[in-house]
């Protein structure tokens, strides 16, 4: 089973999914991330799916779960780099990824986290869009 590496950049955790993951690897990633958020006190998690060719209901659910868990652990999750074909397919599949914030690319994802911080973001207000 492949494990997805989790990188730490300042107080942001970055996960870049590079290969076609089997379900167990997806579950392992979910657990790893929760542990790392607590261990590092990260304020944000960025999941980069630029290289991901499909998102099915299993991965979709994982993304939503990670977002909910991190939010509970006081970190914001942003999914970046979703390809147009993947987005169109997800809409047809019926998955809305409610509660998951998204950005076009890694850079914009980081900017989004910074912006929230400056505004006093999710740390002080529980409000999520």
């Amino acid at each position: 089973m492949d494990r997805v590496p989790v990188l730490k950049l300042g107080d942001i955790l970055i996960v870049s999914i590079q290969i076609d993951l089997q379900d167990q690897s997806v579950l392992a990633l979910q657990e790893d991330l929760a542990d790392r958020v607590v261990a590092t006190g990260a304020r944000g998690v960025i999941i980069d799916i630029t290289a991901v060719e499909i998102v099915d209901s299993f991965i979709g659910r994982m993304l939503a779960t990670i977002a909910s868990i991190s939010r509970m652990l006081d970190a914001e999750t942003i999914v970046v780099g979703m390809r147009p074909a993947v987005a169109i397919t997800l809409v047809e599949l019926g998955l809305s990824l409610g509660g998951v914030r998204t950005a076009l690319n890694l850079e914009k994802g980081v900017a989004l986290l910074d912006q929230r911080d400056r505004r006093g973001g999710p740390r002080t207000t529980a409000a999520t869009r």
Partner: protein, 133 residues
């Protein structure tokens, strides 16, 4: 590729292999990128269902023709418990497995033709087709 191809689904790794083989065949048939993505996603859902609910099954991947059009046909079969109420199983959000209940209903929306045959104790057979535009 030699068409049709038969792949066993006995573990999580097989679901990945099915996705990859479906992608390769979808490219061969000439499906657009969006259509490739749709059919691979449907395949992923149906292969996982066979694994999760029936403990395993088989995937058949073949290229089909209708006049000048080419298409990709996928058949997922298993000898599992079967589905007692097909209409219910095809409803958005209905799940017995703690999922999102979108695998079957969503797959149906992602393909051009969708056929589900199942009865309690008789396994499940799902056939889907995606035509190149």
């Amino acid at each position: 590729m030699t068409s049709p191809a038969e792949l066993p689904i006995t573990g999580n790794g097989d679901v990945v292999l099915v996705r990859q083989q479906v992608r390769a065949t979808a490219v061969e048939v000439g499906l657009s990128l969006v259509d490739q993505t749709k059919v691979v996603t449907a395949a992923s859902e149906l292969a996982r269902n066979a694994l999760v609910y029936a403990g395993g099954g088989r995937a058949r991947i073949e290229i089909v023709h209708n006049g000048a059009r080419s298409g990709l046909r996928l058949t997922f079969s298993d000898d599992g418990p079967g589905i007692p109420d097909i209409e219910q199983a095809l409803t958005d959000g209905w799940t017995t497995g703690g999922g999102l209940g979108l695998g079957l209903s969503g797959s149906r929306r992602l393909v051009d033709e969708f056929d589900l045959r199942s009865a309690p104790g008789e396994g499940t057979l799902v056939t889907v087709t995606k035509w190149a535009r």
